[in-house]
């Protein structure tokens, strides 16, 4: 209750207060003399804390000059450029030689009647798949893989929609996972690929070995990056932008043992993982509350326990209706749902 009065005063100070709240605030102030005191003290504190920041209208001209000098210097320095181009040339060389290698080994023409094996997991069901070359795929709920029976052809090619963990046996043919326009190429490693269409992003995390991640543009593969263990790349499939980071690969693939490890992950993504794992629909009443981040570990826990724990961690609340979970912030309850 005390928090509510602070909420109103802060809203008043920030001029974001609604008419109803303003009436509420007025009534609260008049209710009791101590309230007025609380109001003025809080206003003073907010005013004082705002004055912490220098009232400068200077736009950092000096700083910009320093940055600009750096840019100019770099453009003039030929040495710097050369090194840069050398690095570029080297990476093109690698891609070049790799794609050449593929051209030699892959036969695009032929086999019109190729038999495919397809495995589809409904939401809430996980499975472990043994491939013809003894590689193993752990396929998450709500995910699908498709591959050529017996891995005929010159590469071991698997297409993935959703999330899977791969343990690839060493082999002469490259193993390639295609998820939309993103291809992941390996010879023998273990790694996790998360590529749910609804996420609009593909995340590859490497546990062991070395993995090349490529983007397919007009049928041609362009190398984005090589990843080594505990490295992760996240590619936005709409903008094509990617972010490179380190991650604990064992945590990322913990789901294959029915464990979930989330380290500073937006609760929206946590819920998406739970949806696939437990086969439920989870919705946020207010989309923005999905941004808050949580860190949590669950081992083989029933959904209810997982949800209860997450709600405590995030300060949110949920209700369940016919296998459908709705998450909301306690603050915003009242009005909106009822109306």
């Amino acid at each position: 209750m005390e928090d509510n009065s602070y909420r109103l005063i802060v809203a008043y100070f920030e001029k974001t207060i609604s008419d109803e709240e303003l009436t509420e605030l007025r009534e609260w102030i008049e209710l009791y003399p101590g309230n007025q005191e609380q109001f003025w003290e809080t206003m003073q504190i907010l005013e004082a804390s705002k004055s912490y920041f220098k009232k400068t209208d200077q736009v950092g001209t000096a700083s910009w000059q320093r940055i600009n000098a750096h840019i100019q210097k770099e453009e003039k320095s030929n040495v710097g450029r050369k090194i840069h181009w050398l690095a570029y040339a080297a990476s093109i060389l690698i891609i070049g030689s790799m794609s050449l290698w593929w051209y030699k080994h892959s036969s695009y023409k032929a086999d019109t009647a190729v038999a495919y094996t397809e495995v589809i997991n409904p939401e809430g069901q996980q499975s472990k798949i043994l491939l013809p070359d003894s590689s193993v795929i752990y396929l998450a709920g709500g995910s699908k893989i498709k591959y050529r029976k017996n891995f005929s052809g010159n590469k071991r090619s698997v297409s993935l929609e959703g999330e899977a963990f791969f343990e690839v046996m060493h082999g002469k043919k490259p193993f390639m996972i295609q998820s939309g326009e993103i291809a992941t190429v390996v010879l023998g490693t273990s790694f996790n690929v998360r590529a749910f269409a609804s996420d609009h992003k593909v995340t590859v995390t490497v546990n062991s070995g070395k993995v090349g991640v490529m983007k397919t543009v007009r049928g041609k593969n362009h190398l984005i990056k090589y990843l080594t263990p505990n490295e992760q790349i996240e590619i936005n499939t709409i903008t094509g932008l990617y972010a490179f980071d380190t991650a604990n690969a064992a945590d990322v693939s913990a789901w294959i043992k029915n464990h979930f490890v989330f380290y500073d992950v937006p609760i929206r993504e946590v819920m998406a993982s739970l949806e696939h794992r437990y086969g439920v629909r989870i919705e946020f009443i207010e989309p923005e509350i999905g941004n808050s981040r949580v860190t949590a570990k669950f081992k083989n826990m029933p959904l209810k326990d997982v949800m209860d724990e997450l709600m405590v961690l995030s300060g949110l609340t949920y209700i369940e209706k016919n296998g459908h979970i709705f998450i909301y912030s306690v603050n915003q309850k009242g009005g909106k749902i009822m109306n």
Partner: protein, 189 residues
């Protein structure tokens, strides 16, 4: 100018070596970032230096990394750099043992009455703010920067919006308590 371009478009241009894209981002976020930084460094000049270095880093790294959300990236980097900075030059004034705010208040002749009323109050409160627990101080000050609201703070600090709110209210409560204590202390002596 590229004023109307989105952050993502600007990052795209930046990757094509366009300095104007960097300048636009600079103009868009520089002031907020410096204020944000100053919460940690307690020194605006140092903050300006850190932020200028950060933009240089963004320029140098334009080919290696692509950032999904430049605004979050800038603020989170700014926070890390500022924390590193403060740890490097550990200011002895910050250690808890040294905090005896009553003395501070007496030193410059401010009386409790002046603290609760009149012009002395601002500097008195500012001094008290620096004695708050770090999280409370951080959130109280941060939420006073223009264009940084509680949802942004929750993203930068990686805590829920609700925690941002309750911590903010706690900081105000704590300050009110300290102000009261200093009043009582004076009238008893």
């Amino acid at each position: 100018m590229y004023l109307q371009l989105t952050d993502e478009k600007l990052i795209g241009l930046l990757r094509k070596n366009d300095p104007l894209a960097l300048e636009t981002l600079f103009n868009r976020y520089y002031k907020q970032l410096c204020q944000f930084c100053a919460v940690y460094t307690k020194d605006y000049e140092a903050a300006e230096e850190i932020i200028a270095d950060l933009f240089i880093k963004v320029w140098d790294g334009r080919h290696d990394t692509a950032i999904l959300n430049i605004k979050n990236y800038l603020f989170i980097s700014a926070r890390n750099l500022s924390i590193n900075y403060t740890q490097k030059k550990k200011d002895p004034v910050d250690s808890i043992e040294d905090i005896s705010f009553q003395n501070h208040l007496f030193e410059d002749g401010s009386t409790p009455f002046r603290i609760l009323s009149g012009r002395e109050s601002v500097s008195g409160i500012l001094r008290l703010i620096d004695t708050l627990p770090e999280r409370q101080r951080e959130i109280l000050l941060m939420s006073r920067i223009d264009h940084i609201d509680k949802s942004k703070i929750s993203e930068i600090l990686g805590i829920s919006i609700r925690t941002v709110e309750t911590t903010l209210y706690q900081s105000i409560k704590e300050l009110r308590r300290m102000l009261k204590d200093s009043t009582n202390l004076k009238s008893n002596s």
